[in-house]
């Protein structure tokens, strides 16, 4: 075991509320984001549970129609704006990106802190929504719902989302500048870990798309406060224009939610297969390709909005192209697994789950892209199941996988492996139980956003609710043992997984400034550089850099690694 008593690390270097809330350290900001996001997730998740309980049987159980409308609106808005969008980039990305790059911090630490504070402001506005109750527009704030009913709650919500948008924009600016300008010598573009590539592609979308949401929501706010008459048809406005502007952001936002998680999966698959990632450049470029295509497909959310048939055909055709870079990722992951030495640690269970779930989520996306099919499936549970496979099955699963993967680096403690394996498996089973039946119910015509349904859909809903209970239980279990591990977990070695990215070539808990000297940079997936050491209880460099026991000396392509 490495000496844990060596002194200062980023967790213990200073104490007190302001040393955290006012910190400029990207690692502390990452952790605070993580706790905040988990808090929001508990709230959003409990709304989901209430909906599933109501839907256990047809007819009104304990939630009436109005309350149900508010539940699904708040569930959606909280999960999208407060949880998934900041979840991976701002929480895990903040923690890991500078470490993986070999940088001392992000490019603009004060801006990073401002991002977090804006998140908090946004969250406070959402508390305002809860208190003023009555937001029932759905998370999409479609005009004219959002301009005629419950105007106070709508104003709270759109301003909250506005601040959260700027939080996300500033994170994006920070990450792009960091990746461009903060790389140490030797860290060329094609030596960037794939998670960094994913964050880079995401940041492009964050800075280009989010401002459009900002202005759109601002206009909804002005519409409610002053009656500007731009979107509200009662005043001669055009509600379809709102949909165009909204989806110009919100379709890229879907990839803002899903690309960074896919980046995590690339890291996990390579690490836990103990094998070099297959098709590095293809995976890196596929992230960028998804980011670029994301800007020209928004119209596929509006096939039934009355836009011209030609527009719909064009959007449908372009949307098919998204499948190509997505499939490139999946095929490369599978190729990486092939002949790898697969270690079924909890992060790997999550990663393999994602291959299955993202596969289904992505393929059903193709069904919905197909114009004539979407007319049938639009606003049914098929759509609900599809985006939950992507938003939860991919984004949240990968986030959980990433949290387990980086937990030892964050806190210097191991999570309990057996429990984690159990709970990740339970989550996977629960998820499939909850959402696979919704595909069937959807194809048979069960509409989304109702508190009631025809009795013939009862069986699907009951399976779904049971699945949701599994997810809820295993999430609580996960939360409990992760918290337990911070205090009581086994002390972690510097590199428990044998990952080669620079975040694992440092002490068990990073120091306040990450790297005292610029690290030596090699291939981030050259798994041969590290070997298992029984004595350390973790992986150690076969050939350490002189003067730094944590760092492995990289090798050129032909060079053999000398065995220690």
């Amino acid at each position: 075991m490495y000496d844990q008593s060596q002194g200062v690390n980023y967790l213990n270097c200073s104490k007190g509320f302001w040393s955290w809330f006012g910190t400029l350290d990207h690692k502390r900001l990452g952790l605070m984001y993580m706790w905040s996001v988990m808090g929001a997730m508990l709230v959003g998740g409990s709304f989901a549970m209430m909906m599933r309980l109501e839907l256990f049987a047809p007819g009104e159980q304990f939630v009436n129609a109005e309350a149900f409308n508010q539940l699904f609106t708040l569930h959606g808005a909280i999960m999208v704006f407060l949880v998934i969008i900041p979840g991976v980039p701002a929480a895990l990305g903040n923690f890991a990106l500078p470490l993986m790059l070999g940088a001392k911090d992000v490019a603009f630490p004060k801006l990073n802190r401002l991002s977090y504070h804006l998140w908090v402001v946004g969250a406070i506005f959402f508390v305002g929504v809860l208190l003023s109750s009555g937001l029932d527009t759905g998370w999409t704030f479609y005009a004219p719902y959002s301009t005629v009913n419950n105007q106070t709650a709508v104003v709270w919500a759109v301003f909250g989302a506005f601040f959260l948008g700027f939080s996300s924009i500033f994170t994006g600016i920070n990450f792009i500048a960091t990746i461009h300008k903060m790389r140490p010598p030797g860290m060329t573009w094609f030596k960037l870990p794939l998670f960094c590539w994913a964050l880079y592609a995401t940041a492009i979308m964050q800075i280009l798309a989010t401002p459009v949401l900002g202005i759109t929501l601002l206009l909804i706010g002005v519409e409610n406060l002053l009656g500007v008459g731009i979107f509200n048809p009662a005043l001669g406005g055009d509600p379809v224009l709102f949909q165009h502007l909204f989806w110009f952001y919100s379709h890229p936002a879907v990839y803002i939610m899903v690309l960074p998680p896919l980046g995590i999966i690339s890291e996990l698959i390579a690490t836990y297969s103990r094998k070099h990632i297959f098709g590095y450049r293809f995976i890196a470029m596929s992230s960028v390709a998804i980011a670029l295509v994301s800007f020209i497909v928004w119209g596929h959310h509006m096939f039934t909005s009355g836009q011209s048939p030609l527009t719909s055909i064009v959007f449908s055709a372009i949307t098919f192209f998204v499948a190509i870079p997505s499939a490139i990722k999946v095929f490369n992951w599978v190729a990486t697994l092939y002949k790898g030495s697969i270690v079924m640690k909890a992060p790997m269970i999550y990663a393999l789950s994602v291959i299955w779930l993202f596969g289904i989520g992505g393929m059903t996306g193709l069904w919905l892209t197909t114009l004539q099919q979407d007319i049938h499936l639009h606003d049914t549970y098929f759509v609900v199941a599809h985006f939950h496979f992507v938003m939860v099955g991919t984004a949240i699963f990968a986030m959980l996988g990433g949290m387990h993967h980086w937990w030892p680096k964050m806190f210097g403690r191991m999570y309990p492996e057996k429990l984690a394996q159990l709970s990740s498996t339970l989550t996977f089973i629960g998820f499939n139980l909850a959402f696979l039946p919704q595909f069937v119910a959807g194809t048979q015509g069960m509409p989304r956003r109702y508190f009631d349904y025809a009795p013939r859909f009862e069986i699907y809903n009951q399976i779904s609710t049971i699945g949701a209970a599994f997810i809820g239980a295993s999430m609580l279990l996960t939360l409990w043992y992760l918290l337990w591990a911070i205090k009581k977990g086994k002390p972690a070695p510097a590199n428990p997984w044998g990952a080669v990215t620079l975040d694992w070539q440092m002490p068990p808990i990073p120091g306040p400034h990450n790297f005292e000297e610029a690290p030596v940079v090699g291939d981030p997936y050259d798994m041969e550089l590290f070997t298992w050491s029984e004595e350390e209880g973790g992986f150690v460099p076969r050939n350490p850099v002189p003067g730094n026991p944590y760092q492995a000396m990289p090798r050129s392509e032909s060079e053999e690694v000398p065995h220690a």
């Binding site: 920070n174 280009l208 401002p211 009656g227 731009i230 001669g236």
Partner: protein, 255 residues
């Protein structure tokens, strides 16, 4: 930043031979400048996208009803718009000059130039205030407001008040329109207020920024070694100017 670093790691940071204005996580002043400028440009991109949403609305509404917009534009005062354009162009010149002054270490000249820029910004807002109050008194405002010529359910009292303004010239011209046309003319003013209002917010943010630069400049923060903040602030001010360069012809010069 410096105090934070010192409090967290004590002696270890002292080893760095950084000048005071270079933050600990940068290797040198050059990297800091480069990164800052790069970040500023990206922020300006987001600003452009922010306005882009409104420009899209402008384009859609205008291309649907070009004649209504041509009609509506006659109520904007081209004279004030042109003066404001000149005011902003002058301010862009002085702020660019201030950057040069900072690079050369000419503290006095830099402060004078920044101050002129700030004055221009203030002048712009005063003129905007004159224009806005005229529109508001004339009732050329959002359709849901009580004193709006475009309000379909306008009260008799409000109507009489608006008819009395400036001998009712504007009132008569708007009343002569049929309701559908009037609605489209009203949309022009909705877009006008949103675009110029958002721009006005940016001018005010710029005034805060310029004041901050002046205060720091008086403290002697800037010189040939460190002119980053002046440079980045000037970039921001140029984009505010540039947006107006588009707004002026798009709103005032429709003909």
């Amino acid at each position: 930043m410096d105090s934070h670093v010192a409090s967290t790691t004590g002696a270890s940071v002292e080893e760095h031979d950084h000048p005071k204005h270079v933050a600990h996580h940068f290797d040198d002043a050059h990297q800091q400048f480069d990164t800052g400028k790069f970040g500023m440009w990206m922020f300006l991109i987001t600003e452009v996208m922010f306005f882009a949403g409104l420009f899209v609305l402008y384009t859609v509404f205008r291309s649907n009803h070009p004649e209504a917009w041509q009609f509506a534009a006659q109520f904007l005062d081209t004279k004030w718009g042109a003066i404001n354009t000149v005011v902003l162009l002058v301010s862009s010149f002085t702020v660019a000059w201030a950057v040069r002054n900072a690079q050369l270490g000419e503290k006095r000249k830099m402060l004078i130039n920044l101050f002129i820029t700030l004055l221009c910004a203030g002048g712009f807002m005063v003129i905007k205030y004159i224009e806005y109050s005229h529109k508001i008194h004339a009732g050329l405002v959002f359709p849901e407001l009580e004193h709006s010529l475009f309000n379909p359910d306008i009260t008799a009292a409000a109507s009489a008040e608006l008819a009395a303004y400036e001998h009712g010239e504007i009132f008569d011209k708007i009343q002569a329109l049929d309701p559908v046309e009037r609605n489209w003319v009203g949309k022009f003013f909705s877009i006008y207020f949103c675009l110029t209002g958002l721009h006005g917010f940016h001018v005010m943010a710029g005034m805060v920024l310029l004041s901050w630069l002046i205060l720091r400049g008086m403290r002697g923060d800037f010189g040939p070694e460190n002119f980053n903040a002046v440079d980045f602030g000037a970039l921001y001010w140029h984009i505010v100017d540039l947006v107006w360069i588009f707004l002026f012809p798009l709103l005032y010069l429709i003909n």
